[in-house]
């Protein structure tokens, strides 16, 4: 957006969304800590599970050929052309198109991250620690982006989506079940077993659907 419509309105939009996010986190964070841990794990686990299955489902369909893999460069070129051709409307001295698109983008993606950080933090009893982890991840991702940009760029987007889906689904099953009153055999170590199970069925589904696709072809 900055490249096609100019940086000022884009950065103001991103900044406004960051402030809105901070307000949401400040309001939700303390509220989450007063909810009983069992209820919280059930709700958080359920939401993570539904989120994770959305990611995993799409990643499996793409990996098996039942859904088109996103061509990131084509999407970038198309959206850049759309942004460049959108009419310029000035409001409050800002290019309103650049402001609203960057505001919505930062707010929606940020909400997803904030939700994950808040829920992980509250179920494990330390929101500051989860926030610290998220901050460390931001620094690591920026550094990795600078140092190993080329090899990272070759990692397919769908592989990343697949990994995110597997992780969210795993944590969703683990916490959701605990919230529903389950005692995992082996305690927290069972998380690794759940992870292996989710990974195994996901890879199995990709293989099975790929065969099915070939049979239909």
């Amino acid at each position: 957006m900055g490249l096609t419509r100019g940086w000022r309105s884009t950065l103001v939009g991103a900044g406004a969304a960051t402030l809105a996010l901070a307000a949401i986190v400040a309001a939700l964070g303390p509220a989450l800590t007063v909810i009983p841990i069992g209820t919280l794990r059930l709700v958080v686990g359920g939401l993570l599970l539904v989120f994770g299955l959305q990611w995993l489902r799409k990643a499996i369909l793409r990996a098996s050929g039942w859904r088109a893999v996103r061509d990131e460069e084509a999407v970038f070129a198309r959206e850049r052309a759309q942004a460049a051709n959108a009419p310029r409307v000035e409001r409050a001295g800002l290019d309103w198109y650049a402001f609203t698109i960057s505001f919505k983008g930062v707010l929606l993606e940020g909400l997803e991250v904030a939700f994950i950080v808040l829920t992980f933090g509250s179920t494990q009893g330390s929101i500051p620690l989860a926030a610290l982890g998220a901050g460390a991840a931001v620094v690591l991702v920026v550094l990795a982006g600078i140092v190993v940009r080329e090899p990272l760029g070759r990692v397919p987007e769908n592989t990343l989506a697949f990994a995110v889906g597997v992780m969210l689904t795993t944590f969703g099953i683990f916490w959701g079940a605990e919230g529903a009153g389950v005692e995992w055999p082996g305690g927290d170590a069972a998380l690794l077993g759940v992870l292996a199970f989710v990974l195994l069925i996901s890879v199995g589904f990709v293989t099975s659907l790929r065969r099915r696709k070939l049979a239909f072809a």
């Binding site: 299955l53 995993l56 079940a177 009153g181 389950v182 055999p185 199970f197 069925i201």
Partner: protein, 61 residues
């Protein structure tokens, strides 16, 4: 208001509402079994596998 509701629906439920509905049922079954003396830890992983496969099959047919 309608758009606000649609945003949250898309954000949480996504494009297959059956997944969310079946997961809610699976949680109910897990909670029910957890009140008995039978171990209930296996219900949710198996339910997730079944729910995911059913959702994938709807597309891949």
């Amino acid at each position: 208001m309608k758009r606000f509701g649609k945003f949250w629906w898309d954000f949480i439920v996504g494009d297959d509402w059956r997944v969310a509905a079946r997961i809610v049922i699976a949680f109910g079954l897990t909670a029910l079994l957890a009140t008995t003396s039978v171990p209930a830890w296996w219900v949710l992983p198996l339910a997730v596998a079944a729910v995911l496969w059913l959702s994938l099959r709807r597309v891949a047919r």
